[in-house]
């Protein structure tokens, strides 16, 4: 980790991640205890970076917010928060109110839990979390909101239900494709006979979240995000968890299903049958695009740029499913070594055997240099084995890089400002097909 500036950070702050996560819980209303601009800043950020995700039920400029001012910073903001909450519950209909603090109120040390307890005593369904922006990125904010749910909302259940699982690791809004990604996996896992609680989609309910304590397993489709929450869930509710890479396409998804099956001791044959059936469908579609893949020589060198979830998952998909050549994988999180090792190891054992160069870099403008160092530029020789034909899968920040190196480009990772995202998801078998559809569509777009 390097404690220094970041160019065009590829994440909301902890508060942003928390607000968007809280706002994605069915029936929940975030109440910000922050300076006046935090809600607006997150919304102005959100629209152009998450595939044009709107405010939703009570987000955006409607989010209740204490808007603490200089006076409150000096004398303390809890009176303002108390007034704000008591008016919010009269005015805004919510099944659950979630108080989220920002930098200022965290720094001055407002005791929000005391305020929250007073309202809980009056039967107001309210919890809170300290999520000041300086505490970290959106992934941190996501984890902090999960943690308050675990401690303060989710009911304790001694008896576990062996086919119930909770699905985490995909951060609402920060992953523009979160709804599709969660839904794809929910549908897929239900084919193994599981009842999946994914907390944040239109298919989830607040009751489902409250009653998630009887799950047999927490599935975290990330090696990095939501892990502290999963540890806490184990501690508080006694539910174990497994982590997995984000599964995109047939190769990774098969491995994912087998891991889940093993962890839950599901009959191996039944799982294999599901995999077999899914693969038949998957390859019926692949069959019909394979003509063009071969006729048009659609194999590409690739640069992949994304967070810990996507960088590894996309690289694997391109190499193992699409038969592409992901030469450079840029992981944009500011990770400590332990996490870096996880990604390095994962990418060392691709089924295709393809070796990618993994670089940890937060700053978009530096990627070009990494590529030049990795793939020597032409020194004018007549026969030069160029980094071509090439494709960049990353964020909209990579459009400039792609143009510079004459590559095609698809935006998948944050920030997503040149695509509109509704139902689309890239996880599972369906997600792999979606990915092929989107990638190859770029190659034929100008026709």
């Amino acid at each position: 980790m390097k404690n220094r500036f970041i160019e065009r950070p590829r994440s909301f702050c902890a508060l942003g991640g928390a607000m968007l996560t809280a706002g994605a819980i069915p029936g929940a209303v975030p109440i910000l205890h922050t300076a006046m601009g935090c809600g607006g800043s997150i919304y102005w950020n959100q629209v152009g970076s998450t595939g044009y995700l709107g405010a939703g039920y009570c987000g955006g400029m409607a989010v209740p917010s204490s808007n603490v001012k200089e006076r409150d910073i000096i004398f303390g903001g809890t009176d303002r928060l108390t007034e704000q909450i008591s008016n919010t519950v009269k005015l805004v209909e919510g099944d659950l109110y979630i108080v989220l603090t920002g930098c200022m109120t965290d720094i001055i040390g407002d005791d929000i839990q005391a305020v929250i307890r007073d309202f809980q005593a009056q039967d107001v369904p309210i919890i809170g979390a300290e999520t000041g922006g300086f505490k970290g990125d959106a992934y941190k904010g996501y984890d902090l909101v999960l943690q308050t749910l675990i401690k303060n909302l989710i009911e304790k259940k001694e008896q576990k239900v062996d086919h119930k699982v909770n699905l985490w690791g995909i951060v609402p809004a920060q992953d523009a494709f979160w709804r599709g990604n969660l839904n794809n996996l929910r549908v897929l896992l239900s084919k193994l006979g599981l009842e999946v609680n994914s907390f944040f989609t239109e298919n989830d309910t607040l009751d489902g979240v409250k009653n998630s304590g009887d799950a047999a397993l927490n599935i975290v489709v990330s090696e990095f995000y939501g892990i502290e929450a999963a540890d806490l869930f184990l501690e508080v509710h006694g539910v174990p968890y497994i982590t997995s890479a984000l599964p995109i396409g047939a190769t990774a998804t098969e491995e994912f299903l087998l891991e889940i099956s093993e962890a839950l001791e599901i009959d191996q044959d039944a799982t294999n049958k599901v995999i077999e059936r899914e693969k038949i469908i998957y390859y019926k579609y692949i069959d019909r695009i394979a003509d063009t893949y071969n006729d048009q020589d659609f194999q590409r060198y690739a640069v992949v740029v994304g967070d810990g979830n996507y960088a590894a998952a996309l690289t694997r998909f391109l190499a193992d499913d699409l038969g592409w050549l992901p030469e450079l994988t840029i992981v944009t999180d500011d990770f400590e070594d332990e996490k870096k090792n996880k990604i390095d190891k994962y990418l060392e054992r691709l089924n295709s055997g393809y070796k990618t160069k993994v670089i940890y870099e937060t700053d978009a403008s530096e990627i070009q240099y990494h590529l030049s160092r990795h793939w020597p530029v032409s020194n004018g020789q007549r026969f030069y084995d160029a980094f071509s034909p090439a494709f960049v899968v990353g964020s909209h920040l990579e459009r400039q890089l792609a143009k510079n190196i004459g590559a095609a480009h698809l935006t998948v990772t944050y920030p997503v400002g040149n695509r509109v995202v509704l139902t689309r998801g890239y996880t599972g078998y369906l997600g792999g097909l979606n990915m092929i559809e989107d990638i190859l569509s770029v190659l034929v777009f100008e026709r």
Partner: protein
């Protein structure tokens, strides 16, 4: 002006008594504001709003050949991702075939920095930004955290400036320090004035050329500063430039999208012309005081009457009244013909508006001229610069309702529910709440449209007419998506949560 000797521009509630919390009749707004008792009003229920950092960044992210360093937590500059769309558009217009959009850094202050201070990190960011991007200017914007942990922004800048090539502009935009987002304009102009605005030294020629000197003198006597706003569109700038060119004036546009090296030309103009009085007074007063450049700061050229007045005022300054009269006649004759069929459908339609102070009030004035009825105006703030436009509205409709608030959509939807407007013209990011009420929406700025001058007057008329043709999208939204408020809220009066301010603290 003594303000510029200070490190930080004053906040607007202090400098201008600016108000952001009011609901009632427009007449009352004017009366109470002039009584000086509005700035301490408050709300007992608030929604997330816009702090001075956001419009500050909207302006600063447009400056070419520059890097914006947001000194604060990771999220504070994030709006730059969204603002990149408009900036890229301008970069393409300026000829770039591979535009990079906005370029900004965050000093990413974390828990450790909150304790130990962020100055060293900021210094490193400035030095590295200079090395990496070779910018003409390095714009350092402070958000809340440095303001409370006591980082000395100006001290860091003074210390690092000798080590870097780019001119460093410290901009103080701590969000918690003012409740008036428009303070941002002053904060930005404050930095630009202190760091970029120096009059060029007159070139001394070895061989004097009197003819050329005379020509240059004449040219400068017709050179004007046209002040733009970050919410302006390329169409807006084109339209106003066209009108000023028609008067024979040479136009230089400031400050958005103006190269740092070109800011100095603002000091040599014959006149500064504002397009949004509440945006520019701080800078134009300074230009006059320091460099003797007079200014015009009364009208926002939205709608025919305002555009006429705006143009006449400029023409009067240059003694070009006759030319202006001809231009106005030619423009309005043709425009009136085109407007005739549109006026038929627009007449009597009820509209509600919400956006920046002068834009809201001036646009409402134009809609009144078009024959629409204004049921309420919601300026984001109110101060003396709104008064001329407000006077016109009151003159036309003494019972007009005014609600001053920076966004606060819970009040918007209450007013909509009670008054059922036919169309809503709102600010980016507050339109959605009117849309969910089933009301057709036209954004009051931005996008591909033109909003100012005669072209803008026509665009408003034809776009409102267009939007009214098929409101299905928002009607479906209303039927199927619910607002977050209890039903009882709509039986309350919309200004229930506005609290009368006490005396100054």
């Amino acid at each position: 002006m003594s303000y510029l000797d200070q490190k930080v521009a004053p906040k607007r509630e202090e400098r201008l008594g600016t108000c952001v919390d009011f609901g009632g009749s427009a007449c009352d707004l004017k009366k109470s504001f002039n009584g000086g008792c509005l700035r301490n009003n408050d709300r007992g229920f608030c929604q997330g709003s816009i702090c001075q950092l956001l419009p500050g960044l909207s302006m600063l992210n447009t400056i070419p050949d520059s890097v914006v360093i947001v000194h604060g937590s990771l999220g504070c500059g994030g709006a730059g991702h969204s603002q990149s769309a408009a900036v890229r558009g301008r970069q393409i217009l300026a000829g770039s075939t591979n535009p990079r959009g906005t370029l900004w850094l965050s000093t990413n202050l974390n828990e450790m920095d909150v304790v130990t201070g962020g100055e060293a990190k900021l210094a490193e960011a400035i030095i590295e930004a200079d090395r990496r991007y070779r910018p003409e200017s390095i714009i350092v914007v402070s958000s809340c955290v440095p303001g409370i942990i006591g980082d000395d922004l100006d001290g860091v800048v003074a210390r690092i400036q000798p080590q870097v090539n780019g001119v460093i502009l410290p901009v103080h935009c701590e969000g918690f320090k003012t409740k008036v987002m428009a303070t941002a304009y002053d904060a930005v102009y404050h930095a630009i004035s202190r760091r970029l605005l120096e009059k060029e030294e007159e070139e001394v020629r070895l061989i004097p050329d009197e003819l050329e000197e005379a020509a240059e003198k004449i040219r400068r006597s017709r050179q004007v500063n046209l002040m733009n706003v970050s919410s302006g569109t390329p169409g807006d700038e084109k339209e106003l430039t066209r009108l000023l060119n028609a008067l024979g004036l040479e136009v230089k546009i400031f400050p958005c999208f103006t190269h740092p090296d070109d800011v100095k030309y603002a000091a040599e103009a014959a006149l500064s012309i504002s397009t949004c009085p509440t945006h520019d007074d701080y800078f134009l007063k300074y230009l006059q005081e320091k460099f003797g450049v007079p200014y015009l700061l009364r009208y926002m050229p939205i709608g025919i009457k305002n555009t006429n007045s705006w143009l006449r005022e400029v023409a009067k300054f240059f003694h070009l009244e006759k030319v202006a009269k001809r231009i106005i006649e030619r423009e309005t004759d043709e425009l009136e013909l085109a407007l005739q069929p549109l006026r038929q459908t627009l007449k009597g339609k009820k509209a509600m508006l919400s956006a920046g102070e002068v834009r809201t009030l001036a646009t409402a004035g134009w809609l009144q001229e078009l024959g629409l009825e204004i049921i309420a105006v919601r300026p984001y703030h109110y101060d003396e610069f709104g008064e001329p436009a407000l006077d016109k509205l009151i003159e036309h409709d003494p019972g007009l309702q005014a609600n001053v608030g920076t966004v606060q959509p819970f009040e918007t939807v209450n007013i909509i529910e009670k008054n059922k407007p036919d169309i809503y013209l709102g600010h980016n990011s507050d339109n959605i709440w009117a849309a969910k009420s089933g009301i057709p929406v036209l954004p009051v700025y931005g996008g591909p449209n033109t909003y100012v001058g005669y072209a803008g007057a026509f665009d408003f008329a034809r776009n409102i007419n267009r939007v009214l043709k098929n409101p299905s999208f928002n009607q479906n939204l209303m039927k199927n998506v619910r607002q977050p408020y209890f039903k009882s809220w709509y039986t309350d009066q919309p200004y229930k949560y506005i609290v009368q301010g006490s005396e100054d603290l």
